[in-house]
Symmetry: C2
Subunit: 316 residues, 2 copies
DNA sequence: GGCCGGGATAACCGAATGGTTATCGGGCGA
DNA sequence: TCGCCCGATAACCATTCGGTTATCCCGGCC
């Protein structure tokens, strides 16, 4: 029984899939499957079994899960405790859904580290689906994105979700667009669009956009550029596309049910289990400094500009 | 950071010695030293440092110790949880100081398993010094012997400690024996005599018996047989030597300060952390059945009889 | 019936773990 | 000052771990 094995089990149980667990851990699928097999043999219990659409815990697995989770947590505590005792800088591991990472997280973290002395911050992209597991297993301290159930969610940034297209698009001049009309367009999205738990994903699901119509771009900028070129429609964050709309490069489609007023949240564990740096960041988010940093993005990121994508950072 | 490493660290910290930890784990000293070195390197902190007469925790070590201990405990919980979920019999791991193991523990455990259906019981011998660490790290469920600080101690068996010798011994006919007189005799003891935390060890220390005068026998029976043959004096449990005294094979010396009225205890973790089988055994101890089983020993174990010693059982 | 997605398994590999015996080295007591 | 006790280290070894790629297998679904 090793900690890696326990962690593999916990993530499989939490995410309901070996594949997802492997992706979170940044290893191949057989690696997770193997770790799970080893633990199964050691404890002489299947722990999780395949069922139609997901994995289900055995009675043994149900009992072991909280224990295993706590062990993994304590391992994080241990390294943390010794770090702190040695006066090392706090660690702040932020994960965000792709859109948030692209426009909000980086300036926020930059401002935060400048304000709050020595903090070692890292930023990673993940899906909203995986985010709870990452936070619960202490693989990350803060998760920026949609509100997550079972966690402490702190409002971060208000925004408005619209649907945009190029000025030449067939629907660009419509007075009113029915969901059915827009559903069969080509949808140009970033990774959030492929994640059913983000606002974009929910929007696509709500409009019943078929998967075949969705084209995933490495980031929203690229999607908007393609939309401006008339390749299809795209989800847009109102204040981020404002400039492009003003200049006529993009048009906001009057789709039924939009605009959607939404909030991004900073999700963390409850106070007693939250890391110190996470608490600090939560507090920082409410300051004018943070507001300023997060809003600065709208001006500094024109549609045409292409940035290197933020890669998933892995912590073992 | 592996569980073995954590356990090694915890035991070294608790016992204040690498050697003792190695003995508890039943491995060589470099094995423990190596595990500790690995953990030290991983956490980048010495954790424990040698000081004159013992090992002392660093600030980092102080913080890690409770965490590490809990992790080891949880590992035990995990296996236990899955065992129970599968309906496997409860596990009852009893450790006792040598004298208790020899005369009391075995009949007690036998009676207990006969009464309380399916229980998988094991019995091991250890020193009173190591006993707290064994219980705290869940390497054992119940520790029978002297009362231990920091644990729940449940009175088990009242007994009376005396000093005995053969009828031909120089002091056998004395009206009154001063501590100084008896201190320089040859003392024939079992393993408890070498353990400063047992009653026997305390008695020897109190009388200031020099180490050179102490001969350790594999069990008390053997020591009494040697005492009966005139080879020296021995500590005696009054009701266990009664028959030999009646038959004139042994004589109780009127040593100043003896007899000592003492109690053996069943030591366990506090109720919330105690294993189910430990709770059951505690309760069983108060029943007439248990009393009867424990007292039966006095009749059934004459001095001359030699039994195979109870070996230390190791659980990993 | 055949494809396909996802989990298990096989075969393999390097590195780490966990253990041994033998040896070194540093305090501390006689 | 000389041993001695005890922890650290060296050298070595078998096993396990953690990872890979390739392949198999099974249940759903077109």
């Amino acid at each position: 029984m090793t900690l890696t094995q326990l962690e593999a089990f916990v993530l499989v149980a939490r995410l309901g899939s070996v594949k997802a667990a492997a992706s979170v851990l940044g290893v191949s699928e057989p690696a997770v499957s193997g770790a799970l097999a080893a633990l199964r043999q050691h404890l002489d219990d299947p722990l999780v079994v395949r069922t139609g659409g997901g994995m289900e815990l055995t009675p043994g697995g149900q009992r072991v899960l909280p224990i295993a989770s706590q062990m993994v947590n304590l391992a994080a505590d241990a390294t943390d405790a010794v770090r702190r005792a040695q006066g090392a800088p706090d660690l702040l591991r932020v994960v965000a859904t792709s859109t948030v990472a692209e426009y909000v997280a980086r300036p926020l973290i930059t401002a935060f580290t400048q304000r709050h002395g020595p903090v070692e911050a890292t930023l990673g992209v993940t899906t909203a689906t995986e985010m709870p597991a990452l936070l619960m297993e202490r693989l990350a301290d803060v998760g920026l994105g949609p509100r997550l159930g079972g966690l402490d969610s702190h409002p971060m940034l208000r925004h408005r979700l619209v649907v945009v297209a190029g000025p030449e698009h067939r629907l660009a001049r419509a007075e009113r667009v029915e969901p059915a009309d827009v559903a069969h367009q080509d949808w140009l999205v970033d990774a959030s669009g492929a994640d059913p738990a983000t606002e974009t994903g929910i929007l696509l699901a709500h409009l019943r956009v078929p998967d075949a119509r969705v084209r995933v771009f490495p980031n929203l900028d690229a999607a908007w550029t393609a939309a401006a070129a008339g390749e299809g429609v795209a989800p847009g964050i109102a204040h981020l596309v404002a400039e492009d709309v003003d200049h006529g490069r993009l048009v906001i489609l009057p789709v039924e049910g939009t605009p959607l007023d939404l909030l991004w949240y900073a999700n963390t564990l409850p106070p007693d289990r939250r890391s110190r740096s996470a608490t600090k960041l939560r507090r920082f988010i409410d300051t004018p400094d943070a507001m300023h940093a997060m809003h600065r993005a709208d001006a500094s990121v024109p549609v045409a500009r292409f940035r290197p994508p933020v890669y998933v950072t892995l912590w073992s």
